[in-house]
Each structure stands twice: as structure tokens, then as C-alpha cells.
Amino acid sequence: MDSVSSEGLSLITNVGLNHYLVLSTALFCLGLIGVLLRRNAIVMLMSIELMLNAVNISFIAFGKYNNNIDGQIMVFFVMTIAAAEAAVGLALAVSIFKRFKEVNIRFFEHLRG
């Protein structure tokens, strides 16, 4: 009995690589749910940002526990791509809003071409 509690206790006290990976998975799934459930295009973009942040946490966790700094450099690049994607996504959303006065997903079917 005590082995379980001591193992359980040690699970709480010393934080290892797995803790960060579980945190990153949880955030990733939250972002996924956000993308699937929400109708507003901008909130979907935000959920994608949330998923990208989850990926960043696991990059850095792996980087730290294998003391290889490429994880941080990869996070650097992921941030740039995510910011660029948010910029273009919002520029698109603004131009769609100007046309349709509504930013809901339903209106995306009207795009021709």
C-alpha cells in the first residue's frame, strides 16, 4: 500500500518530462475542442494559437530534459509562423467582415473560386 502512496507522492513532488508532456497534451486537446466547437472564425484562430502553444511547451520540455537547445530554436520558429498565420488570418477575417458584416463560419461557403 505504501508503495502506491509513495510512488503517487513522488509523482507529485518531483516534476519530470512526463508532467510537461501531459500539460501540453491537455492544452492541445482544449485547442482542438475549441476549433471543432466554436463558430466564430476569430475564436477558431485563437484555439489554433492555443494548440501551437501546447506544441511549444513540449518542444521546450524535450529540449530541457535532453539538454539540446534546438528545442528552443524550434519554438522561436514556431512562434514566428504562428504570428504570421494570425496576422494573415485576421487580415482575411477583416476583409470578409467588411463584405458580409458577420464573421461566422456559415458565411465561408459563399466564397466562390
Binding site: 518530462l17 466564430n40 492555443l50 502553444n53 521546450i60 539540446n68 519554438v75 522561436f76 487580415a91
Partner: protein
């Protein structure tokens, strides 16, 4: 209960709580503000992972720039509280939730049972410059990842031009008006 374990659990709870508020709150402005809060707590998680420079960059780029753009766009649109913020259909909603939960369960299962010992080759090719880890990051950025660095410079230029062109179109992708 060492200090950094307590810090980790505290930050894990705030990050997950922030993430849940982003997804569940109906008003998009509160979603954007809680996402900004999540970004700040993710930056704090980076600090517990001793990635200090990346935590600072996360604060500047994500919490300080991207989220301000989101909040500004939402305020420009004068978006009020949305009635149908969530996709209609209870069954399809349940299926979506189920798939996301399944994916999460699979991942966590894979993490839990992966042998802890299998360390990937410890960063052998680490030509570490003395002391400061950020100097090391700058060092590797310019020796190992020089091409990606230049490619990103070009990408940012392309995005700047694209964003201006997009904002100048008279609404709608074909600018028919």
C-alpha cells in the same frame, strides 16, 4: 513539496483554466483576454523549464503583439455577446468532444508508458558557448539554423506585403464592389 514542484502545479492549473475559459466563454473578447492570460502563464511555465529568453520572447511576441491584434480586431468589429457561439447539434457536438478526448487519452497513455530511460542521444553536437544559455541559443541559431533564419526573414516580408494587399481589397476576396 519543493518550491518548483509547487510552481509547476500552480502554473499548470492556471494554464489549463485559461485554456478552458478561452474555449467555453461565449463573448469573444473575454476569450481573447483569457487567451492572453494563458500566454502569460505559458511564459511562466517556460521559466520553470529554464528557457528564460524564450519566456521573454513569448511575453513580447505572443502576449504583447499577437493577442493585442486579436483584441483590436474584435473591438473594431464591435462584436457583441454571440447567441450561437457554439456549433448547433448536440450529437455532432458530443462526437467532436469524444474524438478530442480520445486523442488526449491516447497521447497521455503513450506518454505514461513510454520507457523513461530512453533518452534521445543527449545533445552531443552541443558546441556550447560558455555559461549563458541564451548566448548558446544565438550561437546555434547562426551556425546550425542559418538558412531557416534567412527564410523566415523573407517570409515576414511576404506576410507584410500580403497583409497590406489584403486590407486594401474592397471587402470580399474578389473585390467585386
Amino acid at each position: 513539496m519543493t518550491a518548483d514542484a509547487f510552481l509547476f502545479w500552480f502554473l499548470a492549473i492556471t494554464t489549463i483554466a485559461g485554456g478552458i475559459t478561452v474555449v467555453s466563454v461565449a463573448n469573444p473578447i473575454y476569450a481573447a483576454l483569457s487567451l492572453a492570460f494563458t500566454m502569460v502563464s505559458v511564459a511562466a511555465v517556460f521559466v520553470t523549464l529554464e528557457a528564460y529568453f524564450v519566456a521573454g520572447v513569448q511575453l513580447i511576441v505572443y502576449a504583447g503583439a499577437v493577442m493585442v491584434l486579436f483584441v483590436m480586431v474584435l473591438m473594431l468589429f464591435d462584436l457583441k455577446h454571440e447567441l450561437e457561439a457554439f456549433a448547433r447539434g448536440k450529437v455532432s457536438g458530443a462526437i467532436k468532444l469524444l474524438t478530442a478526448g480520445l486523442l488526449g487519452g491516447l497521447l497521455i497513455g503513450a506518454i505514461a508508458y513510454s520507457p523513461e530511460g530512453s533518452k534521445i542521444a543527449v545533445g552531443a553536437n552541443q558546441v556550447a558557448v560558455a555559461g549563458d544559455p541564451t548566448k548558446n541559443l544565438g550561437y546555434r541559431l547562426f551556425t546550425q539554423h542559418i538558412f531557416a533564419f534567412e527564410a523566415l526573414g523573407v517570409l515576414l516580408l511576404v506576410i507584410a506585403v500580403g497583409a497590406v494587399a489584403l486590407s486594401r481589397s474592397k471587402g470580399g476576396t474578389h473585390g467585386q464592389r
